[in-house]
């Protein structure tokens, strides 16, 4: 494979090392503002900026004693996972229909489904508010926020999965069919695994967009708070590094979860490999 170092030409090796350095710079670029953010969570300076007037854990202590911020975090997570599931389901099914037929005007459908990204969140929020309160007479709650946010996140999933499906080699499915796989198995064993990276990317998008969504949510969540709403409101009157502390903790938790999500299966695989090496190969 082209990845094998020994197989690469000298030019290939140069390309590989310079891209490695480039990748490093990208992570530096991405994480510098984040490092600053975490830094200021320990800064005694209550304005969350330079200079560093001292080191303290008081902002972290404040987070633990603040029921509002914890409530906001809980709501955010709860809305987040629901939005992810809804958008992945809706977006993937719609992508299949868009790419594999079933839609009479694919270009028009694509434009229509992209509209939610085009319209400023403010307007989606306002019009949804009116829909819920004056037309449907539904109470506003985190559920209405789930509905509103998934309108915004589903197009991302749809477009990602559709892009991947477009170039999908149908011959693979035909080959599988020739070998006796039915529609369901073709889907399960061939198509889904191959487009899974797009679905995963879509899910990541959806969750990330939801986690940080403020504009639409603010309109239709009624009197509840999510973390972005809480932070925006805090910031208006003077951000105290309590917000930085919370963000730093969320970050650490995400990285920890990430590590778990990848280390655990990897370890499991290693362990399994160690135990199955003894098994004799199957008879021809």
């Amino acid at each position: 494979m082209a990845r094998e170092e020994s197989v690469l030409s000298r030019r290939g090796r140069i390309a590989r090392s310079s891209l490695l350095v480039y990748g490093g710079f990208i992570y530096l670029f991405l994480f510098t503002p984040i490092v600053l953010l975490v830094l200021f969570s320990f800064n005694a300076n209550e304005y969350g900026s330079f200079p560093i007037t001292g080191w303290t854990l008081s902002w972290y202590r404040q987070v633990f004693g603040d029921p509002d911020i914890q409530d906001a975090l809980r709501t955010t997570l709860s809305v987040g996972y629901k939005v992810t599931i809804v958008s992945v389901l809706l977006g993937t099914t719609a992508a299949f229909s868009l790419v594999r037929g079933g839609v009479r005007f694919p270009a028009g459908f694509r434009v229509a489904m992209t509209l939610p990204i085009m319209i400023p969140g403010i307007l989606i929020g306002i019009s949804l508010l009116i829909l819920f309160t004056q037309i449907l007479h539904l109470p506003l709650s985190p559920t209405s926020a789930v509905i509103g946010q998934s309108l915004y996140t589903t197009p991302f999933v749809l477009l990602l999965v559709a892009a991947r499906l477009e170039g999908f080699d149908r011959n693979l499915e035909r080959a599988a069919s020739d070998l006796g796989a039915n529609a369901f198995n073709r889907l399960r064993l061939i198509v889904i695994p191959l487009i899974f990276p797009s679905i995963l990317a879509g899910a990541l998008f959806a969750f990330t967009l939801s986690f940080d969504e403020f504009v639409i949510t603010n309109f239709i969540i009624g009197s509840y708070n999510t973390l972005p709403i809480y932070i925006y409101t805090q910031i208006k009157y003077g951000i105290t590094p309590e917000v930085n502390a919370l963000a730093a903790m969320v970050l650490m938790a995400s990285i920890a979860l990430l590590a778990l999500a990848f280390v655990v299966p990897a370890t499991y695989r290693l362990v399994r490999k160690a135990f199955t090496r003894r098994v004799a190969p199957a008879a021809p």
């Binding site: 694509r110 085009m118 307007l123 009116i130």
Partner: protein
């Protein structure tokens, strides 16, 4: 497709219809009165300021998108091609993880990096390169820089998911047949990921056109974008005006999407 259609039909298109109606109604006494009028559209079409801002917004969006894709493409290429398969997904998620802090906090961090007493100026002063702090904030290019930062993961993720399924042996085959590496990339890789590139452009360009918070925080007066103007109308409960301006922007985007629909629906160049 049916559940999606019903879901969007009810929760998006009905409210969207409302927005369209609003744009033709009148703002009065902090409410929208059902007086039909073209005044809102006429107002925006007649006032040069809004065109000015829209053009500036467009150019910021295009520049930010081009730079974002330019920066993200080598990264996604590297991740797909040269990184061990087992490491790819964690590294990818690591790109997104910073974005599980808060948008506002991230943009605010840039104030701490580019500000008069921020990281860059302090470092330059300590190194003796400058005496007075450089004015890095509140320019249009500051907005572009911060937008590139904010939208990089969108582009990287999208491009990665498209490059990932590429069969790298095709490049070697092409080079065996005499193509230079760059030609191979240009003629073999790029056409196959065209749908991915176009999708990445959509994910970055379109939301940027509606951005208002980043410009407000780091753009100053110079960096005002159309989104800021829409936000002003919203603040004053002037929804008719806000709807009309938003629909003008949306209409323009729809136009772009229709013009570029061929790139969107590309069939694979080889096979299938």
């Amino acid at each position: 497709m049916v559940p999606t259609a019903v879901y969007f039909g009810l929760f998006f298109f009905v409210p969207f219809g409302l927005i369209v109606c609003f744009s033709f109604w009148t703002d009065s006494n902090y409410t929208v009165v059902h007086d039909w009028t073209l005044d809102n559209y006429r107002y925006f079409l007649e006032n040069a300021v809004y065109w000015h801002t829209m053009i500036a917004t467009l150019w910021v969006a295009v520049a930010a998108t081009a730079i974002t894709l330019g920066v993200a493409f080598p990264f996604s290429y590297w991740l797909s091609r040269y990184v061990r398969p087992g490491l790819q997904k964690p590294l990818l998620v690591l790109v997104i993880v910073p974005f599980w802090t808060s948008y506002l906090l991230r943009v605010y961090s840039w104030l701490n990096i580019l500000g008069d007493e921020g990281l860059v100026n302090t470092a330059l002063k300590k190194a003796g390169i400058i005496d007075q702090p450089m004015s890095l904030l509140y320019h249009r290019w500051t907005v572009i820089l911060v937008l590139v930062y904010l939208y990089f993961p969108f582009a990287a993720l999208t491009l990665y998911s498209s490059i990932d399924r590429f069969d790298w042996d095709q490049l070697r085959a092409a080079m065996d047949l005499g193509a230079s590496p760059t030609t191979a990339l240009r003629k073999i890789l790029l056409p196959q990921i065209r749908a991915g590139i176009t999708t990445a452009v959509i994910f970055v360009l379109i939301p940027i056109l509606g951005e208002y918070l980043a410009p407000q925080l780091v753009g100053g007066i110079e960096g005002v974008m159309t989104g800021n103007q829409i936000d002003s109308f919203q603040q004053g409960a002037l929804y008719a005006r806000a709807s009309a301006l938003s629909l003008i922007v949306a209409g323009f985007i729809v136009l772009l999407l229709i013009l570029f629909r061929k790139s969107l629906a590309s069939k694979e160049a080889y096979g299938a």
